[in-house]
Symmetry: D2
Subunit: 224 residues, 4 copies
């Protein structure tokens, strides 16, 4: 999984608990008809899942969990960590020296004209020029970081010169309800292209675990 | 697991994700030394877990999950559900008729004299008399519930006459950090005896999954 | 505010912070144009609020707070406290003796035929008969509670015979985002009539503080 | 309030709700003795607050709120936003051009020898040399940002070259319970000096609103 296409950024699934059946069981406890254990879903089970998603019954989607290992640039992690119904542990640049790894856009996009916060691909952006500016900026910054360390400056301060394109890594855990919410906001035309790639990677990893839930979620989403 | 000793209340473990090693991995991502996968913990790993618990580093204990099925009286569930960092789905007395199942104390305790909210075992409480009052009260209430249903009153209203000793059931999911917090408050001398039995049952079910974490948690707790 | 019409249940506003302007300011910090302080909203401000609600931008609605004092039956509080993004403190029946106060329905409703968890008003429910059964059930239960206390049984146990129609009281604090979510679920045709009355009371108390937000929220809600 | 001493970083109190009395009221609802309204605290009230803090009774400290406007470098905000029981709205570098404002340390600290993530003041760090490296790094980065914008690169991408020392601004709201937790972790010898200055500023702004709570909290903290 290399969401950003530069061979560094990645998302992998570390562990998971629960499946479509555990969603159905959690919902069926409402009327005393949960059947612990997993197994193939009946058409009635699938219908129940569609009903829950169409009517915003979120809690049955919480009795499960996924942990992902993520490598992403800081500016992506900053958007990510605004999601509070989740768990995070990230590498500390106070503890460890930051490695010489940064995100390099494959395509530099232009500012969109209609939406003040969006961007669009455009032939008018000189790609090579942008890429070499970007690359030089990183090298200068990283060199300065190294020099500050060499002067004896503490890591926690020296990192202040490193740009938000630098890669960081984290463990991220959430349940399916929170994941759907994340995907609704972050795999969305209004989201930044970079975080959308991560959202799509989460989607690809989560869907095989909860195929019926994902199908129902797509359906409910497109009906809105 | 029959926490209340009357053969009805129970706690069982439905599913779980993660182990001692996943706590260590989440902590070690801080310095880029996580090693995905499980395995026996080294003494250094165990020392790290003790360090985390002694210094209130809670987040590494969040990358795991447990789901429990719980059968408990309403007054216990009311205390339980005050814990907000957790997921709940409970049987609905709007949807299903409440069954003729209620908690019967094995021992009726006396009001404590020092602590205004506590209770103590005391030879002065006439056990048989209390038990027969209790039993009669339930029967009257349940009979009235049945009569209201027979008159055509909706379940969601009729249940209003049923006492908080009635049994309900739920799915409860949380991570280890939240579980430890639950146990600190609910397996505590200040907690009501009944919920303590449930806390102890959760402890017995959780400990085999996270033996090193539980040992370190007990140690940190007794040091406070 | 007597939501349940029996002169006991009530909701009152204890304190509040923020107004429509503070929502606008929190949103405008996104582009560095917040203007601390309150004042009449411009048409542009109102348009921004409508935009935020129509596009699920929830966070600007969090920089405010309301505290309510609520007196409600236990079965209503049980539904209420499932809302986890809020703060609660409730009277303790371990500490204080429960008072002889219980909810008495003005109208007993029949079980709905289409929806298994709903109820409807129906001429076929014999109101007087239901009311006297209900009343007698409470009296029996409360009498038994008193007798158990007289035998020396601890309050925390004795309360187990009291029905969920008994009144309790609590402080409830939340922000406007959480309040809107509460209202969407609890002032909803699918919610139980009793909690809907409380939701409506919260609405009446909150709306004068945030008139533009409420107007925009109703608009967004009816557009869905 | 200029926490970092360079005349840019700042914390100000925007609005607040509640006081020491509202903590007492929320606690006293437990035994039906809340007295809505504010007023001077009695010695018994103060004793209750000390009791609550000494025994980890957190919920009465939640029925209040504070909103702060914060201007801080990104690396500080990254630590700050790990606190999930709070509300945030931050200026968007997708929407607005980032201003030429960055944090400049008054003192460059050395890496600590005992603690791998800490730093200490040391005469061996050549301050002027470090400061001019730091300053040059910012200027290079900011110039590159300007050049990328001039080439037509979208703001959301171009910002990737800006370092985490750049200033950002946000609205931050929380209740007193969450604030105490923040202060315990962030005004702590193990926290980075920079965020400690922000924690101290929050403390100075919060203490006059809740003087009795803060006094009791300091007492409980030093007793641990």
């Amino acid at each position: 999984m290399h969401p950003l296409g530069d061979g560094i950024g990645s998302v992998s699934l570390v562990q998971h608990m629960g499946d479509d059946q555990s969603v159905v069981n959690a919902a069926r406890v409402s009327y005393g008809q949960d059947r612990p254990g997993s197994g193939p879903l009946s058409p009635r089970d699938a219908k129940l899942i569609r009903y829950l998603l169409a009517h915003d019954h979120g809690s049955p989607f919480e009795h499960n969990a996924m942990t992902f290992k993520v490598v992403a640039p800081i500016f992506v992690l900053r958007q990510w960590m605004r999601h509070r119904i989740a768990s995070y542990n990230e590498i500390s640049a106070r503890y460890s020296e930051v490695q010489d790894l940064h995100y390099r856009p494959q395509v530099f996009r232009a500012q969109a004209t209609g939406n003040k916060q969006a961007s669009v691909e455009s032939p008018q952006v000189p790609q090579e020029q942008a890429a070499s500016l970007w690359q030089a900026a990183w090298q200068e910054s990283y060199l300065c970081y190294q020099k500050l360390l060499a002067l004896g400056v503490a890591r926690e301060q020296a990192r202040g010169v490193l740009p938000t394109a630098m890669y960081s890594e984290m463990y991220f855990s959430c349940n399916l309800r929170a994941l759907f919410h994340f995907l609704e906001l972050r795999d969305h035309p209004g989201a930044q292209w970079e975080i959308r790639q991560y959202a799509k990677a989460l989607e690809q990893l989560g869907e095989p675990i909860f195929p019926v839930c994902f199908a129902a979620w797509r359906e409910a989403r497109s009906a809105r």
